[in-house]
Amino acid sequence: MTAVIDKPHLTREHALDLLKQMIRIREFEGKCAELYTQEKIRGFLHLYDGEEAVAVGVIPVLEKRDRIVATYREHGQALVRGVPMTVVLAEMYGKQEGCSRGRGGSMHLFDRASNFYGGNAIVGGGLPLAIGLALADHMQGEKIVTACFFGDGAVAEGEFHESLNLAALWGLPVLFVCENNLYAMGTALAISESETDIQRKASSYRIASEAVDGMDVVAVETAARRGVHAIRESGKPYFLECRTYRLRAHSMFDAQLYRDKAEVEAWRRKEPIVRFRGWLEASRMIHPEEVEQIYKEVAAEIAEAVAFAEAGTWEPAEELTHFTYAERAAEAEATRHD
């Protein structure tokens, strides 16, 4: 372990990588929205527009052996974690080449290879799971961190409080990452919480906590490094509240009657990609051409993902009941395409 790990090294290369990861998510999801209107993607589609700095700031700080539990708004987490864009999009198409074989869709991206324990679409439902993953590591003497993403809406759930208590009580290595985008679907935080300062709830469970500007990728990364370092040193949980904002609708069905356009516009001026790019260019750390190059690379990656998803195949309906139990897993495993 390096001597100082709580400070990000904002080299040019690292800065470009952070920017690229955010652009990957933004551009990919823009394409997803388009594919949704074309009915290539169905079901619910929850976009991360505006919140990219959270996943991009937190996930690269984790090691390969660390674990991630995410929510139904998890395309960004999956991409940053290294789940290939091809299989993520194929999943959203419902194709068997998808990362969950088309069984999960947008809200349930899973990837064993990268310890990605899924998008969980029950608000708060992923927190107890994260506690269990961390409990197993704790009992097996493994210094593994479980990062658990959830939104401000989860804070109202009993599972949030049960999980924070268990993590603190048993001293479990969980990085709680609250993506506070101020709205639980259409219900503003102030309408659902008596205490809107979320990180204070964590400290009431004696969990080290901090709130950070979730629109600033460098600030998020710095805080995440601090948190992960603290967890590895102490084995105890750490709570990171990332104050962010969802710039698009909750899902593709949301008419956004609950908030003013002016509010959204005000937040758009603070959005993480423009802000980080502007700062990097102003400080002459990167050239605009390099950003253009990023966009080109991302466009190519997206084109490849679309081609992959389009070329994907439908799982025969005869295989519908496979994987309900493990008994039939072996035969089906042999037919996996990856």
Binding site: Y117, L129, A134, L166, T324, Y325
Partner: protein, 334 residues
């Protein structure tokens, strides 16, 4: 049941048989641990886990806060990360607080993840009425759980099964729920000193007979056997099937029996409407209709919350006289 020489068997309670199963599992496999409310210092709400804390320590006999959803979900996560947890939920009524985790995570993860993750978790809980604990501690909801694809549901009714099903359940790569009827904990009997794991896929014929199939499980097994003994006094030779596993159901054993006896009564402590008994009835109609000499019948709980008063509680759930009456009616005898 198996015949064992007296010298090779020990006398014990169902409670002790389950405790022995837990102790054995903890000794056999370091990945096994038990967590739940009052399992440690208190010794278990029904005293099943008494003494285990001293033997295995607080990491493996883990007292939890009253956070059913939290610690059941933690069991799921721990199972996904290589442990073999046994989660104890105090009663089936409390398990409803963990239903999100059981249904939305444990039962779905393998399928929803395209077979990337499994949940080798065992959840034990007490079920059933008979202790005057009224409407929030006495229900029999195992039939509800048996509705859910992705989990297996066991109902050990004998000492052998109380002792033997747990280890087999722990070897299963998928979540297994074990329902222990509260009226069985004090039941005593003889168990082979070397009793060990048993299969969990098959129903058992606890009493062979020719005239009618009485199909049951859990706490109702012993009432049904008592009813069968009374029926024998009236020259009715009843076959008693102990389902043992409620999901998946062992259709083969049920149908073979019904095809032989041509009559069936299902005894189920769950409520009648939408019950496991209804499911079994349907399967008999689907698979053995032409072998029946009369309609299949059911003895279930009355459609009320289980009441406190002793006489009302008795009236609410299946009892020996009701089973006898139903069996005779199915045979056209009064």
């Amino acid at each position: 049941m198996t015949e064992t020489a007296p010298s090779a068997s020990i006398e014990l309670t169902y409670r002790e048989a389950v405790r022995e199963a837990i102790r054995d599992a903890l000794r056999r496999d370091e990945r096994v641990f038990l967590m739940g409310e009052d399992v440690g210092r208190y010794g278990g709400c029904y005293a099943v886990t008494k003494g285990l804390l001293a033997e295995f320590g607080p990491e493996r006999i883990r007292d939890t806060p009253l956070s059913e959803s939290g610690f059941t979900g933690a069991g799921i996560g721990a199972a996904m990360a290589g442990m073999r947890p046994i989660v104890e939920l105090m009663t089936v009524n409390f398990s409803l607080l963990a239903l999100d985790q059981i249904l939305n995570n444990a039962a779905t993860v393998r399928h929803m993840s395209g077979n990337q993750f499994g949940v080798p978790l065992v959840i034990r809980m007490a079920t059933g009425a008979g202790r005057q604990l009224a409407a929030q501690h006495s229900h029999s909801l195992e039939g509800w759980y048996a509705h859910i694809p992705g989990i297996k549901v066991l109902a050990p009714a004998t000492l052998e099964d109380g002792r033997g099903m747990l280890w087999t359940a722990l070897q299963d790569p998928d979540p297994v729920l074990i329902f222990e009827n509260v009226m069985l904990y004090n039941m005593t009997g003889k168990l082979a000193a070397d009793a060990g794991p048993v299969d969990i896929g098959k129903a058992a014929i606890r009493r062979p007979g020719r005239d009618i199939s009485l199909i049951t499980y859990g706490g109702s097994l012993w009432k049904t056997l008592e009813a069968a003994a009374l029926l024998a006094g009236e020259n009715i030779d009843a076959e008693v099937i102990d389902l043992r596993t409620l999901r998946p159901l062992d259709d083969a054993t049920i149908m073979a029996s019904v095809k032989k006896t041509r009559r069936a009564v299902i005894i189920d402590e769950g409520w009648r409407s939408g019950s496991l008994a209804a499911e079994i009835c349907t399967r008999i109609v689907e698979q053995a209709f032409w072998d029946l000499d009369g309609p299949a019948a059911r003895v279930c709980s009355e459609e009320v919350p289980i009441p406190y008063a002793r006489h009302l509680e008795i009236a609410a759930i299946p009892q020996v006289p009701k089973i006898v009456t139903a069996a005779k009616a199915a045979l056209g005898r009064t």
